[in-house]
Each structure stands twice: as structure tokens, then as C-alpha cells.
């Protein structure tokens, strides 16, 4: 068995992150969980301790507050004795109509889903670059692969995250730091509870295990489940003059 890893999870109370965390716990890793709600955080921390995590530390933090990001990385490194992996999983699913009606709504969504992630990636990237090791994974989305009328504010934020990660991966490659873009498709989580489900939907546990596998292997881009890779390839291939007419 490999040495236990020291893992920072931002947005640790999200369904996908907490399922991925269970996989880390099962392999006896050390975890530092950051999220906004203290009750949810402690429920998840208890669960991970019973499931075998060697250590679970928590921090109650609003990740939209980018001024706290450096302190968060420092606190994690200090309490776990270093950082081997970072998973950034916080996010919201915007109401597209509200975002169309008011830029304030769109602004808030872009702040959470892109700007706060870019800030975290900056400090985490620099930390890993200095130690010349580490893995950084972010939950992006297939929605970022192409803009659609039904959710392009979300798609734009996630697309920006994916491009940011491409650049960061390129920059950190010589330092031996792995950067992993996770692109889930439809996932059955509290965030999507109101949607009608079909065969394309995956449960959070399946996707969480996929996140864990991608981080352990060091994939560059992981579509979860895998079948989204060919689906998104096809969707990207549709010419724009056709795509613009579609109701997607």
C-alpha cells in the first residue's frame, strides 16, 4: 500500500466531493475539509473518520472570499504537515433565466464558479510548484465544452475553469505537478434534485469514485462517466451555423 496522502478538499460538503473523500478515507489518507456550513462539515468529517481516514481536519470558510485562500492553504499544510493533493469541488448551478434577467445574478455565479476557483488554483499552483510535486483536481463540467442557451452562464464559468487548468497544467508540467480537469455529465445530486432523470444520469458515488481514480492516476482530463468523452466530441463537432439553430 502506498503512503497516506495529505488531501485538501474545497467544497467538501458537495455530493461528489464527499463521495470522493470516502475513497480517500478508505485508503487511510489525511484529509482537510473546507466548506461553509459547519453542521454539514462535521457530519462529513465524522463519516470519513469512521471510514478509515487517518486524520480529518476541517475549516469553516466561505470560498468566495478570495482573501482567505492563501491562509487556507497555509493552515492545511501546517495541520496535515504538507499537501499532496487538492480537490476543488465547490460550485453552484445557476438559474439561467435569472442570470439573463440580471447581470448581478450572473456575476455572483461567475464569481463562485470561476473567480474563486482561479484564486484557489493560483495559491495551490504556486504551493505545488515550489515543492515540485502534487496533484490538483477541479470539478469542471461537460457544460464548459460548448455554450448552450439553457445554461451558458454556468457553461462559461466551467469553460473558463477548463481553459485555466489547461494553462496551469502546461505551466506546472516541468515541476512534476499534475493538474486534472474533471468533467462530469449529469449527476444525481441535491444540486440537480429537481430534474427529470434518464439513462445519462450517474449517481454521485460513481462520479466520486471516478474523481478519486483520476486523481490517483493523474489523468489530464477525465470525463465522468467515460461515455461523455465521445458525446462531447460529437457536440463540439457540430458546425456553429447548425448548432445555433438547435434547442439545447
Amino acid at each position: 500500500m502506498s503512503d497516506p496522502r495529505r488531501v485538501l478538499i474545497c467544497g467538501a460538503t458537495s455530493a461528489i466531493a464527499s463521495e470522493a473523500a470516502r475513497c480517500f478515507a478508505a485508503s487511510h489518507d489525511l484529509l482537510f475539509l473546507a466548506a461553509r456550513n459547519p453542521d454539514k462539515l462535521s457530519a462529513i468529517a465524522d463519516d470519513l473518520r469512521v471510514r478509515g481516514a487517518t486524520r480529518v481536519e476541517t475549516a469553516v470558510v466561505d470560498l468566495n472570499d478570495t482573501t482567505r485562500h492563501q491562509a487556507l492553504i497555509d493552515e492545511c499544510a501546517q495541520r496535515l504537515g504538507g499537501i499532496d493533493a487538492v480537490l476543488i469541488a465547490h460550485g453552484t448551478l445557476p438559474d439561467q433565466h435569472a442570470c439573463q434577467a440580471s447581470f448581478d445574478a450572473a456575476h455572483a455565479e461567475l464569481e463562485t464558479n470561476f473567480l474563486s476557483v482561479a484564486s484557489l488554483l493560483t495559491v495551490a499552483g504556486n504551493y505545488c510548484e515550489r515543492q515540485r510535486a502534487g496533484a490538483i483536481a477541479v470539478i469542471s463540467s461537460v457544460a464548459g465544452d460548448r455554450g448552450r442557451q439553457s445554461n451558458y452562464v454556468y457553461g462559461a464559468a466551467k469553460g473558463a475553469v477548463s481553459i485555466f487548468l489547461q494553462g496551469l497544467r502546461n505551466r506546472l508540467y516541468p515541476s512534476g505537478v499534475r493538474v486534472i480537469t474533471i468533467k462530469p455529465g449529469f449527476v444525481d445530486t441535491p444540486m440537480t434534485a429537481g430534474f427529470a432523470k434518464n439513462f445519462l444520469w450517474a449517481d454521485a458515488a460513481t462520479v466520486g469514485r471516478g474523481v478519486y481514480r483520476a486523481m490517483s492516476r493523474g489523468s489530464d482530463v477525465a470525463y465522468l462517466p467515460w461515455f461523455w468523452r465521445p458525446i462531447m466530441l460529437l457536440i463540439r463537432l457540430v458546425p456553429e451555423r447548425v448548432f445555433k439553430r438547435l434547442r439545447l
Binding site: 453542521d39 454539514k40 457530519a43 462529513i44 465524522d46 463519516d47 473518520r49 469512521v50 471510514r51 441535491p190 434534485a193 429537481g194
Partner: protein, 436 residues
């Protein structure tokens, strides 16, 4: 808490009756319930067979999101977990650490909350009592937002109302369970054929002291001198953890609901005759999955009964006069036909069940499936109820979709006392049928 309406996913295991619900999801144990216009009912995995897990026209509170473990004392084997945790998840995590469920029903795909709310039992009832006997504490959330910690010493009346309380007293948010020490996943199993009911009672009489688990499969199609013939199985957890005991692999699924039941009388008669005569090893060591949860390997096995679904009938008769009552039940079933492969017989022990509405009680229990063939099937079940009522026994609410209010009230004389603990905003299809 989020809500949406759905038609198909929320059914009971017998796929009869059908019901429509608004579904809300419980995710966090610190959160309360939002108000609802219509009555609410907690829902786990829908493994109850009839309508006790249904709330037609009302709200189901899907509790599978309450799936977190809270604490585990590895010295004493005490596990605290949220109510939506599956028994399967507990086994997967804690058997390697040397702990086992104190009581296992026939499937491991039920939640802890469901196991408590139905006060389920297993093949070790004669030794271990019901599931509720091993619940140390639980937290009950009521629709008025109040929370009660309940145990034998704290809110003891709420504790006994909630164990076996069919989800009607509020939502069980978490529970603390006393687990059982084992050496590993292995079980030593012996199987013995018996020629008739007398043979069963002799075997169970001589086995129950030395074996933690005893149960018999009976050929419900046999009659006359062979009435109640079958195969007796007795087992203990292996005392050493030897390598080589692995979980049965693969399994398969019934992919679709079949248009008609695959289970006709001729098929049953032929299968049972073959199964009864099939040569078998008398002693073997197997993984607990093979012994305790054989049907879990066939996912959605309930679909073999077709679109009309099926009834399961489980009753307990006796203890006084139990032998005669079982003989009478089997003979009525054999005469009518219509029974299925899966008929199970077991003698319950004398450990009192803790719940006001608990089903397990001293006597002999018989369980079997009947494909739903309409009025003929319900008439037969009524005729079985006559025998159960006369013997002072009971029918298991978790498996029932049709018992009369009169029968229920006779089977569960504490029901009136129980009513005082029912949450005013909670109800179920079953409850409206038997209590109103």
C-alpha cells in the same frame, strides 16, 4: 430539503399496490422537515412488500441521503450511523474489522431506519431476538421540529413505539447499534432434508441450542404424508478466519418487468420436487452472502412476478397449537395452488421484541410469495388469516398489502396505545387501511 414528483421509482417490493407520491429528500441529520399539505412517510429502499412503505397521494421522505456513519467503538462494537445507511454498507466496512450485524433480514439492501421501523428479524431470531433488541439509542425527529433521543432508559415509551412503528412516529435520523463479534466472513452451514412437518419440528428442536441460525425451505406444493417436507439449514459464524471464503461473484439481474408472471403452478411443483431431491453437501463453509442473502444476487427478482406484482404472506402462529396451525396453513395453500418457490419456515425464540407493533413473537413463522392473480389470491390469503387469527398469531405488516383492519387490530392489540405516538402529519397507505 428539495422536492419533486415522480411516478415510477417509489414502489414497494411486491409491486402491488401502485402509488403516486411527492418525493422530498432528506440529506442532513441536523436539518428539519418542511411543512407539507399532505401526510408524510419516511422511505428507505422500498423493500417492504406491500403498502407499509407507500403513502399514496402523500409525501415520501426519501432518507437514503442520510447515509453517513457517525462513530464506531471498535472495542465494544457500537456503531452510530444515520438512518439511511444500508446494512450492506455496514457489512462491507465492518466485517473486515471483525464485526457483524446482530440480526440480518433476508436482504442486506435495507436501511438501518427501515430495519428499526419494521423491527426486522432473521434466521437467528431464536438466539438474538429482533433487530430492535440491538438498538441502543436513536433520534426521532417529529414534524413539529422536536427531537427526542430514545433508548430503553430515555423516552422509553417513544423508543418502543418507534421500533416496529412503521415510520409513523416521526423520522429516525440516526441510531446506535450493538454489533456482533465474528472471526471473519465465513459461515459453517449444514443442510438436512426432512420428509414432513414432524421432521422439521424435530430438527429445529435439536438444532436451536447449538446453531445461531436455523431456517427451513418447505415445498408448499407437497400434500398428504409429505406435507411440509423440505430442507433444513443450520449455521454458525465460523470461529476462525480462514482464507478462501470469498463473496459469491457476479450475480445477475432481471432486466425488465415481465408482462406475465414466470411462476405457474406446474413450474413451482416441478421446481420444488427437483429442489427437494437435489443432492447437496451436508456441511460446507460459505461466505455470509451465500447463506444470509442468496436472493440479493438476483437484482430485481421481484420482476419475475410480472406487471400485476405479487403478495408475500408472512405470519406467526402459536406457540401453543403452532404445529397444527402450520399444518392447516400448508394444507390450505397446497390445496389452492398458487404458492411459489420461496416458502420459509422458522421457529421464533422467546426473546421479547421491544416494539409496541413488533411482529416477532414466540411461535412458528411461515413466509411465502403468491403471484397476484386477483380475487382468487386474496381469498386464499383471507382463508390463511382465519387460521392465524384462530391461533392467536399475527401477520407481518412489512409484507402485507391486504389484511383487514379487524385482523390487524387482533394481531396487534397494542395498536391503540401506539396511536398516541403517531405523528399527526405522518401516515401511510397501510396505516390508513388498518387504523382509520
Amino acid at each position: 430539503m428539495s422536492a419533486h414528483s415522480t411516478r415510477n421509482k417509489y414502489q414497494s417490493w411486491g409491486r402491488y399496490p401502485r402509488a403516486e407520491h411527492e418525493v422530498r429528500f432528506l440529506r442532513w441529520r441536523h436539518e428539519g422537515l418542511s411543512e407539507a399539505e399532505s401526510p408524510m412517510l419516511p422511505f428507505g429502499t422500498g423493500r417492504s412488500y406491500g403498502d407499509s412503505c407507500l403513502n399514496d397521494g402523500g409525501v415520501l421522505l426519501d432518507a437514503r441521503g442520510l447515509d453517513r456513519l457517525i462513530s464506531f467503538d471498535a472495542e465494544r462494537g457500537v456503531l452510530a450511523c444515520e438512518a439511511g445507511v444500508l446494512l450492506a454498507e455496514i457489512l462491507e466496512l465492518l466485517v473486515p474489522a471483525g464485526w457483524f450485524l446482530p440480526v440480518s433480514p433476508g436482504t442486506k439492501f435495507v436501511t438501518v431506519g427501515g430495519a428499526i421501523a419494521n423491527d426486522v428479524h432473521g434466521k437467528n431470531h431464536h438466539r438474538a431476538g429482533s433487530f430492535g433488541c440491538h438498538v441502543r439509542r436513536l433520534e426521532l425527529l417529529r414534524s413539529d421540529g422536536s427531537r427526542r433521543r430514545c433508548s430503553r432508559s430515555e423516552n422509553a415509551d417513544w423508543f418502543s413505539a418507534t421500533i416496529g412503528g412503521l415510520g409513523l412516529t416521526g423520522v429516525i435520523m440516526w441510531a446506535e447499534l450493538q454489533l456482533l463479534r465474528v472471526a471473519g466472513p465465513g459461515m459453517d452451514v449444514e443442510t438436512i432434508r426432512f420428509a414432513n412437518l414432524a421432521g422439521f419440528f424435530q430438527l429445529t428442536g435439536e438444532s436451536d441450542a447449538a446453531f445461531a441460525y436455523t431456517v427451513a425451505w418447505v415445498d408448499c406444493a407437497s400434500r398428504g404424508r409429505a406435507l411440509g417436507r423440505g430442507i433444513f439449514t443450520r449455521s454458525n459464524h465460523s470461529s476462525e478466519d480462514r482464507p478462501g471464503v470469498s463473496a459469491p461473484g457476479g450475480g445477475f439481474a432481471v432486466p425488465i418487468e415481465l408482462p406475465v408472471a414466470l411462476v405457474g403452478d406446474t413450474v413451482v411443483r416441478t421446481f420444488n420436487a427437483w429442489y427437494y431431491r437435489r443432492p447437496r453437501t451436508r456441511r460446507r463453509r460459505v461466505h455470509y452472502d451465500s447463506f444470509l442473502y442468496p436472493l440479493d444476487r438476483v437484482r430485481n427478482w421481484n420482476r419475475i412476478y410480472g406487471r400485476r406484482g405479487f403478495f408475500q404472506y408472512q405470519c406467526v402462529v402459536g406457540p401453543a397449537g403452532g404445529r397444527d396451525a402450520v399444518a392447516e396453513l400448508l394444507s390450505r395453500i397446497a390445496t389452492a395452488g398458487g404458492g411459489s418457490f420461496l416458502a420459509v419456515l422458522k421457529v421464533f425464540g422467546s426473546i421479547p421484541s421491544p416494539g409496541l407493533l413488533s411482529f416477532p413473537r414466540p411461535g412458528v413463522t411461515l413466509a411465502l410469495d403468491f403471484p397476484n392473480r386477483g380475487a382468487g389470491t386474496t381469498r386464499l390469503l383471507e382463508r390463511l388469516d382465519d387460521v392465524v387469527r384462530a391461533s392467536g398469531g399475527a401477520v407481518y405488516p412489512a409484507k402485507d398489502a391486504r389484511m383487514s383492519a379487524e385482523s390487524f387490530r387482533q394481531y396487534f392489540p397494542e395498536w391503540r396505545a401506539f396511536c398516541a405516538y403517531v405523528d399527526p402529519c405522518f401516515s401511510s397507505s397501510f396505516w390508513r387501511r388498518v387504523a382509520s
